[in-house]
């Protein structure tokens, strides 16, 4: 059964069951199904270009997931746009994706090139519409497009097909022995970590409990919400778990139903796992690995006490999954202990790559012995039958679980009028990136105090890139040091600014 058929059968058998809960609002499977039919019906009547993407702007409202399903039922891929995405980036995504329409579930004031309408209006207009599976997105058609940071200076859209998503859901159910019950969603829908709980929950007839940005920003509210939630399966970045661990009362007394932790998006620190094991004695912890390009995650490791005792870093995969291999530049598998690039195989590798970016697609999506593969750019090695992560081969980093290309940030800073040249350096604690520092050479001599200049640059930057990509610290230099090849000498620069 495809993804929509699976949700349909839940809606048919248990229409009264709660599908989604967020900030006090709920929808049942019956409502989810009928309202997404209604929305799909209204969309279809608009005669938008066939298969053109539709953006869905909003946050955690139940209408957001009704809109996702309605869009794919009408035969279009959806592009999730969270309220945290800055205006210039939204404008860029709307234009670059050639999307034909925007659905909103939160207040939206920006002028954009396409028509937009509130999800609620679309639902009301199509009330009572019948289900029509003939138009549903299926197989190799694109189900969703998620935009991720790009080294060219602009974000790129990763296209995930219905077949990719269906295979991901089947795999994770088995690999992590997913139980029934209540699932947590912490990530905004524009971040593909959210897919890790959204579709396993909906296709399995489970309840998804989404927490909001304002709850996360106010710890008092957050823990009240978690305490009352009966959550069984926890999906988040390790960084988010670190925030929760700051509260000594966050444990299995406060969340007695918690059975499974799923972590993905960045390196899972040993210290976080040790602490969780003490506080949640009965819970199982999984460390998952995978990039957006291969549908969220492709491997999972159940973290055992033995691993915690033996290793300094946790493994990301067993060696024999068949979907993750470590290869050298000649695309041959490396021997134990030797470093190589992580290459991903299997049915969740994006079928069509990046949207309208053939060159970028061909660089990383390859055919190897007749099979489509994705070269992740991550490095790894094999030890004791496990695969371990060993950093990046380029300038991509993960900061608090957010993936970003250092070059995109540099290009955006260099695009500001005042700036002559810029290099962004990661501030590290061990292998973990904890902050970013921008080293900037201005066109003209500084006439104001540095913090005022920084404030002004940050304000401009926030229109183009999300908050989490803006470097925390700005250092001003007369010029950036160059190496013998005439490129900026990043190592020397790091020493000069004291990193």
């Amino acid at each position: 059964m495809n993804v929509l058929q699976q949700i349909a059968s839940v809606a048919k058998e248990h229409p009264e069951k709660v599908a989604y809960r967020s900030a006090g609002q709920t929808v049942t499977y019956g409502e989810l199904w009928e309202q997404s039919n209604a929305l799909a019906h209204t969309i279809k009547k608009m005669n938008l270009p066939k298969n053109s993407p539709i953006t869905v702007y909003g946050h955690m409202s139940p209408k957001q997931i009704i809109a996702f399903l309605g869009v794919v039922k009408a035969g279009h891929p959806y592009i999730p746009l969270d309220i945290s995405i800055p205006s210039e980036r939204i404008t860029h995504i709307v234009e670059a994706s050639k999307s034909s329409f925007m659905i909103t579930t939160e207040q939206f004031d920006l002028e954009i090139a396409v028509q937009q309408q509130a999800a609620n209006d679309l639902i009301v207009k199509g009330e009572g519409a019948q289900n029509n599976p003939t138009t549903w997105v299926s197989e190799d058609e694109v189900f969703y497009i998620i935009y991720t940071s790009g080294s060219t200076g602009k974000p790129k859209g990763v296209q995930i097909s219905e077949s990719n998503l269906r295979h991901f859901v089947a795999w994770i159910n088995e690999a992590c022995s997913l139980p029934n019950g209540v699932y947590l969603n912490q990530a905004p829908y524009s971040f593909d970590l959210s897919v890790m709980d959204l579709y396993p929950a909906l296709t399995g007839g489970r309840e998804l409990h989404a927490i909001t940005k304002s709850q996360i920003e106010n710890a008092g509210l957050l823990f009240e919400e978690l305490h009352d939630s009966s959550i069984n399966v926890w999906t988040s970045t390790p960084s988010f778990a670190k925030i929760c661990l700051m509260n000594p009362e966050w444990n299995d007394e406060q969340m007695p139903d918690l059975q499974t932790f799923l972590f993905c998006g960045e390196v899972l620190p040993l210290q976080v796992v040790k602490e969780l094991k003490q506080r949640f004695k009965k819970a199982t912890i999984y460390n998952l690995y995978g990039p957006t390009e291969t549908t969220v995650a492709v491997t999972a490791v159940e973290v055992t006490d033995d691993m915690i005792k033996t290793y300094e870093h946790l493994p990301i995969a067993p060696v024999d999954t068949g979907v993750l291999k470590i290869m050298n530049e000649q695309m041959e598998e490396v021997t134990d202990g030797e470093k190589g690039e992580l290459v991903i195989f299997g049915p969740t590798v994006s079928t069509s790559g990046y949207l309208y970016a053939e060159e970028q697609t061909n660089k990383v999506f390859k055919t190897h012995e007749g099979e489509r593969v994705y070269k992740a750019g991550d490095l790894g090695y094999i030890q004791d039958g496990h695969i371990f992560y060993a950093g990046r081969s380029d300038f991509q980093i993960k900061l608090h679980g957010y993936r970003m290309e250092i070059e995109e940030i540099e290009k955006q800073i260099e695009a500001l009028d005042e700036v002559g040249a810029c290099v962004v350096l990661p501030v590290k604690s061990g292998e973990e990136v904890t902050a970013l520092t921008a080293c900037v050479a201005l066109h003209n001599e500084m006439t104001e105090k540095p913090f005022k200049v920084t404030k002004n640059l940050k304000e401009k930057l926030l229109k183009a890139i999300p908050n989490y990509m803006v470097p925390k610290k700005f250092v001003y230099l007369d010029s950036l040091p160059l190496n013998m090849n005439g490129k900026v000498d990043r190592k020397r620069l790091a020493v000069e600014v004291g990193l």
């Binding site: 106010n218 710890a219 008092g220 925030i243 509260n247 608090h400 920084t454 940050k458």
Partner: protein
């Protein structure tokens, strides 16, 4: 409680000396503090001042500026 020391801790965590000069600056709006910075700040208060601020007490409305943070700490100390 040493007010200047508190301000210096905030400046260190925010990695910006603007904190020393503009004490009514909203640290969250200015992008100087986020959820992760908040954790570092609370850990620093505990380590350097011996004041334990429960994360559930901290909110962005009352703990938003250097001056307000000093005031809140004085109540807890």
């Amino acid at each position: 409680m040493d007010k200047e020391k508190v301000i210096q801790i905030i400046a260190d965590v925010c990695e910006d000396d603007v904190v020393l000069e503009e004490r009514d600056l909203d640290l969250f709006q200015e992008g100087l503090l986020d959820s992760f910075g908040t954790i570092n700040l609370l850990v620093a208060f505990e380590d350097e001042l011996g004041i334990n601020v429960p994360i559930t007490v901290f909110n962005r409305e009352e703990w938003n500026t250097p001056n307000n943070i000093v005031m809140q700490l004085e109540e807890l100390a």
